[in-house]
Symmetry: C2
């Protein structure tokens, strides 16, 4: 009853050709006469033959699989990039082997080793800083790699992303231009997150250049949850009631921050300006709509797909560095600093 899965050999036998010919018919049809192709295709259809990926990978040293490691899947900016990365590679009959590193370099190293061992033809990661062993391992496997979400003209590896320092500068400048002098920052955890760290440094630098200060008690670091955003507003304003602008590490924190401000009876932006980061889809529809910086998630996913597929196709491993724009989007949560 339960038939065994047919193999290439079975197809060859039924079509009365060699396995080599069947293999060619599958992979390079134009190397095979049309009549023979038809015979083979009939046999394949007939037997319900499906090639075995493991055997194919072992013999050809290619897996038709790309590895991708994001910090967490459960964040719309990463899942959006994944979606478009996926769409891009599906056409070329590639599939994603997915892992997350949970913002830990050690976990990431293990995941990379696991992916490499399982067999991948290319690797996509997020951020510039990775465990040194990762780079060694990659070198060994000689596969194309690209780091998303960062842009560094000097980087040794390919990258597709934007300049987070510049992004931090932009936000701070926007608020300074509005007359704010006293800032609060609700940042994501900066350790092991070079993007969050550079954004922070960008805005700190801009604030200090403008002649203001950013003391330690004006800064909170926390994981990206709405609840943390809300709580942190209280933490900051309890200590420093005259903060007039709070810069959040991402939109989720900003949504929480608005909630926290409302709990304190503060009006946004009249009493307190708030900024986000990423520009998630719902932002323009919230009341008040949130000022933010747009993260080009979609384009990063698409371009990563293009880049890796191109390298595989050309059997090259060229370093490319693609800078994308991350523009400031001014909405309703930022306004002139209140007069005291």
């Amino acid at each position: 009853m339960q038939k065994k899965k047919p193999t290439l050999q079975d197809v060859a036998t039924q079509a009365k050709v060699s396995t080599a010919t069947v293999s060619r018919c599958l992979n390079n049809p134009d190397m095979v006469r049309v009549e023979v192709q038809e015979k083979i295709n009939r046999a394949i259809e007939n037997l319900g033959y499906v090639p075995d990926g493991a055997a194919r990978a072992l013999a050809s040293r290619r897996t038709q699989t790309l590895g991708v490691i994001v910090p967490t899947i459960d964040n719309s900016i990463f899942s959006k990039a994944l979606q478009y990365l996926q769409n891009g590679i599906t056409k070329a009959n590639y599939t994603l082997l997915l892992a997350n590193n949970d913002f830990s370099q050690e976990v990431e190293l293990r995941e990379v080793q696991s992916l490499l061992s399982r067999g991948i033809d290319g690797l996509v990661m997020v951020g510039a800083k990775h465990h040194p062993e990762i780079y060694k391992a990659i070198k060994r496997y000689q596969i194309p790699v690209v780091n998303l979400w960062i842009y560094d003209p000097e980087s040794e590896y390919s990258c597709i992303g934007f300049d987070h320092i510049k992004a931090g500068n932009q936000i701070a400048k926007h608020l300074i231009d509005l007359g704010h002098k006293n800032f609060g920052v609700i940042s994501g955890i900066r350790e092991n997150n070079d993007r969050a760290d550079e954004r922070f440094r960008g805005l700190e630098q801009q604030i200090e250049n403008a002649g203001f200060t950013l003391d330690e008690d004006h800064i909170v670091e926390c994981h990206y949850t709405v609840e943390n955003g809300s709580k942190s507003v209280h933490t900051l304003l309890d200590k420093n009631p005259d903060i007039t602008a709070i810069i959040c590490g991402n939109d989720i924190l900003a949504i929480g921050a608005i909630h926290g401000a409302q709990e304190r009876g503060l009006k946004v932006p009249e009493d307190l300006s708030i900024t986000g980061f990423d520009n998630i889809e719902i932002l323009p529809f919230l009341k008040p709509s949130i000022t933010t910086i747009n993260s080009p998630s979609r384009r990063m996913g698409e371009k990563a797909a293009d880049y890796i597929l191109q390298q595989i196709k050309d059997k090259t491993n060229n370093v490319e560095r693609i800078e994308l724009e991350a523009e400031l989007i001014v909405r309703e949560t930022t306004g002139p600093a209140p007069q005291i």
Copy 2:
């Protein structure tokens, strides 16, 4: 310079044992004497040996890989389930091969074939309705399968989820209890989405049982975007100005709907009640906070991991049907029907 990747054979040679022993040392260490283990581990370390997944898969007929197909990655309820599914299987050294079907049965079929061909030890899908060929293909490969997001006590395949008809009932009942009589519905696209369809039928049934009607011009079907939520409110209210409650297919649509209501100068919930579905993280922090039904994404992901790993471990393929609660969460967007 560029050394070849070491193989099991190299390890065996260096450790002066057979490849069989090295293989055992890797997979079933207690079948090997401790002293020999040490010799082998030293050689592995020394050579930087990493097993080849393809060869291993071909020889053992196991890939340590699970396939998962979601409608779209770019929706937090699915990405959240993925995150926990992933976490659950990582411990067992499994990795996810990820695909999305973009809400199309044909695409899903192709993806399933691709995953099976690539080699997976188990498969996780969303919803009950799949292309018939999918079930045939799965049968052939004899791997455990589980459908998430649905619960059907009669289903032929394992499922982990909740009853969408009941969920639809609950929402409608809540609004009816509040005195609403005239309803609008902004549903997701129901074709190829059994969850959306059953939710719709659940609420339709409850509304009609209560003696009210739900005409066609009280219903809009659209993709799950904030913008569609906002537009659809206008579509519905332009035609039927006396609708007092709008039931949305998910939270994203509901956020858009609130925006649309505000554009019309309507107060939520005083003039118009609005409900969502899924209970995404930010909901309680929005103003007004949104009444919704909680989708147990996290638990579905976790339980799917447990189920599949258990089946693989036991080499069984038992059908399990796990019902999870999807409770109504009443917040600020629903209130008594306005007096006319």
